[in-house]
């Protein structure tokens, strides 16, 4: 394996890996039958990629610009609603908005475009509302950012948290019912039909975030994080860059909200509470503040752990251990304790502030920990030992077979199988012996 790769090779390698992953996800979703336990894997990938996107957008704000904002759930909520409102098929409007006379908007972007452009229009019709969700949220973020971004750390946190709550109240307001359906759920809107869709969209968005971070703007963001006053002295327009980071982060939070709406197939304002923001924040922390790769890994680990691996804790049996302690809710307690441990003792998270890179990967591979390094040799040794043991056993078996045959032959020829022991006075001889 080459140690030094040029950029072209790296790009090709990345593209191949991503393409392989996408194909696997696509095939996985088609091949795995519903009800099989592996279906959980697909669910985790879907939800994980959605949370990876929102965690990355939060990381852009918290980890790269140093703005401790807690408004992510509110932004996702707007995104989810914007998407859902514009994609409910016209025929279902009466059912969905049953308390509001079928609502105000009696059309769906998906249907309009599908009617004109067929299948292309169908996807365009899903893509446009999603983009619209992003833009609406970005605009809201812009408006909120103007007053809020002048505040300092904890005030900023609590003010953004406050705005998220205001947004939630707004969407539950009955007067807006003809559009938002009040406190009732929105459903029957268009969703994707293969897990590749959220993975793909989230992937593109995260790629854009990565590009942004490595641009001059990204450097300005990091300068603000490290020292506001120094950055200002160096000619970084503080407010402009903060606002920009905030708007971009909101945009992607909006898109992830739209994806979440598709994933859940029904949407209501109730679950988008501060707890959701906390969870996203914890994902960012687990992955490492200031690392997008970390956020992605954190998101998948978080969803896998909470949706899949620790499920057994609720059902009473986990890894073969069963206990009365394990009843519904226990999973979350264990999970929260794990998170606290990470926060207290491993506060840099999985990736710290480093990103994944092929160079880094190969460097790690070269200096890989002894346990991993020794693994292939160990495996080989284990296999050899197994083989040897097998050979020995086979030899023993053949020997046993041979001696048995010989004995048979001797028996047949009338020869005594055992030579009688010499009888002596002081030796007790059992009856069984001899003959």
């Amino acid at each position: 394996m080459g140690t030094k790769l040029n950029n072209k090779h790296k790009a090709v390698l990345s593209v191949i890996c991503i393409a392989l992953f996408l194909v696997l996800v696509y095939l996985g979703d088609i091949m795995i039958r519903p009800g099989s336990s592996m279906k959980m894997l697909i669910t985790v990938i879907e939800k994980g990629s959605i949370f990876a996107l929102v965690a990355a957008s939060m990381n852009l704000l918290n980890g790269f610009t140093g703005l401790f904002s807690l408004g992510q759930a509110g932004f996702m909520l707007i995104g989810a609603y914007t998407y859902a409102i514009f994609t409910i098929p016209a025929a279902s409007h009466d059912k969905v908005y049953q308390y509001f006379n079928g609502g105000v908007i009696k059309w769906s972007i998906v249907e309009i475009l599908e009617g004109r452009l067929g299948i292309v229009g169908h996807y365009l019709g899903m893509f446009l509302p999603m983009l619209l969700a992003g833009i609406v949220v970005a605009f809201v973020g812009f408006l909120i950012g103007i007053p809020v971004l002048r505040l300092k750390s904890d005030y900023l946190a609590i003010a953004t948290l406050g705005f998220a709550e205001i947004i939630r109240a707004f969407f539950q307001w009955n007067t807006l019912g003809p559009i938002t359906n009040g406190s009732n759920v929105l459903r029957k809107y268009t969703t994707y039909n293969n897990a590749i869709f959220p993975v793909f969209i989230a992937g593109i968005c995260i790629a854009i975030i990565l590009l942004l971070i490595n641009s001059t703007y990204g450097r300005a963001f990091r300068a603000i994080r490290d020292d506001e006053i120094a950055a200002e002295a160096m000619g970084v327009n503080l407010f402009k860059h903060k606002e920009m980071s905030f708007v971009i982060s909101s945009f992607f939070a909006g898109i992830s909200g739209a994806l979440l709406a598709m994933f859940q197939t029904t949407i209501s304002a109730t679950p988008f509470t501060t707890v959701m923001t906390y969870e996203i924040l914890l994902i960012v922390v687990i992955g490492g503040i200031g690392s997008i790769t970390g956020s992605i890994i954190g998101a998948f680990l978080f969803t896998a752990a909470s949706e899949w691996w620790l499920r057994g804790l609720d059902a009473g049996r986990w890894l073969g251990i069963s206990s009365d302690l394990m009843r519904p809710g226990f999973r979350k307690v264990v999970f929260a304790i794990l998170i606290m441990l990470i926060v207290l003792f491993y506060s840099r998270g999985i990736m710290g502030d480093k990103e994944f890179s092929w160079d880094g990967f190969f460097a790690w591979w070269k200096n890989r920990p002894a346990a991993i390094k020794a693994w292939p040799a160990k495996r080989r040794a284990a296999r050899a030992a197994k083989k040897e043991a097998f050979a020995l056993k086979a030899a023993a078996r053949s020997r046993a077979k041979q001696s048995k045959q010989e004995n048979e032959a001797r028996k047949a020829s009338g020869e005594a199988l055992f030579t009688p022991l010499p009888v002596a006075d002081h030796v007790i001889v059992f009856d069984k012996e001899g003959k």
């Binding site: 918290n62 609590i158 109240a169 606290m340």
Partner: protein, 265 residues
């Protein structure tokens, strides 16, 4: 209070509040009322100091953000643990007969608790202000809130001061929870989050570090919320608190009675 000293949003404060309510629910089934009320206060104090020891003390020198994240983590843990214990059901708070007694003053009839609450609040506030102004520990608290490092150089045991702060803060939270849940009897794992945030808003409103300010702020918030509910905008009553917060932060970041804070480079 805690915020004023530590300059830290204790996200877990609301959950201490909720937990003391919850413990009360369980204790009342086996113990007499007055005894369980005392135990609840002790429990809240122990819980608060434990949180401080485990989650905040190791991070004292860490950047602000990690402390806040740790606070959020604690809050998440407490909520989930409560969820596990209660199974997510809303528990009914025991009615304390003495607090529920109806009182008639002139022509107005009201519950005892409505009458007790403001009186008790004022008494406690006066006590607290006196504590902070005239006792040694109060002086230490003020010093710590001004400047961590200098006060430790002056021979103040910061950890002790902060522990005392947490003891007082959590004790008050538990007393508050007894009064609060006597009025709003439903208690579930999430019912601590909102009062906790509102308390913070009240503190900001009145000016960080000023206890009378916090009380005035809390009264203003409470009154405005009820007015809004009365006007039929119930959905917005929580949102209003935050609107108020944002307005305050925009217009007068130091709050009503706050001290001026200058940024040093």
């Amino acid at each position: 209070m805690v915020y004023g000293i530590l300059r830290l949003i204790n996200f877990a404060h609301g959950d201490v509040f909720m937990w003391s309510g919850l413990i009360m629910v369980y204790l009342v089934t086996v113990l007499p009322m007055w005894l369980s009320a005392i135990i609840v206060v002790i429990f809240a104090v122990v819980l608060g100091t434990t949180i401080e020891k485990v989650a905040y003390r190791p991070l004292r020198s860490a950047p602000r953000m990690s402390i806040m994240i740790s606070a959020i983590g604690v809050s998440y843990l407490l909520q989930n643990f409560a969820l596990y214990i209660t199974g997510g059901l809303t528990k009914t708070y025991p009615s304390i007969s003495w607090l529920q007694k109806t009182v008639t003053i002139g022509t107005a009839t009201t519950k005892m608790v409505t009458l007790i609450t403001p009186v008790l609040t004022i008494v406690l506030v006066v006590l607290l202000v006196m504590l902070i102004k005239y006792t040694k520990i109060g002086m230490a608290m003020r010093a710590v809130s001004r400047d961590f490092e200098t006060s430790s150089l002056m021979g103040i045991d910061i950890n002790r001061v902060i522990t005392v702060t947490f003891i007082i803060g959590c004790g008050l939270a538990s007393i508050g929870s007894i009064l609060y849940f006597s009025n709003y009897t439903g208690i579930n794992p999430m019912s601590g989050a909102m009062p906790g945030l509102k308390a913070f808003v009240a503190a900001v409103f009145g000016g960080i570090g000023s206890i009378p300010g916090a009380v005035v702020g809390a009264f203003v918030i409470g009154i405005c919320e009820n007015l809004i509910k009365g006007a039929g905008w119930t959905t917005f009553s929580d949102a209003f608190t935050f609107v108020l917060l944002i307005i305050i932060l925009m217009v007068k970041p130091t709050g009503l009675f706050g001290e001026k804070n200058l940024d040093k480079v």
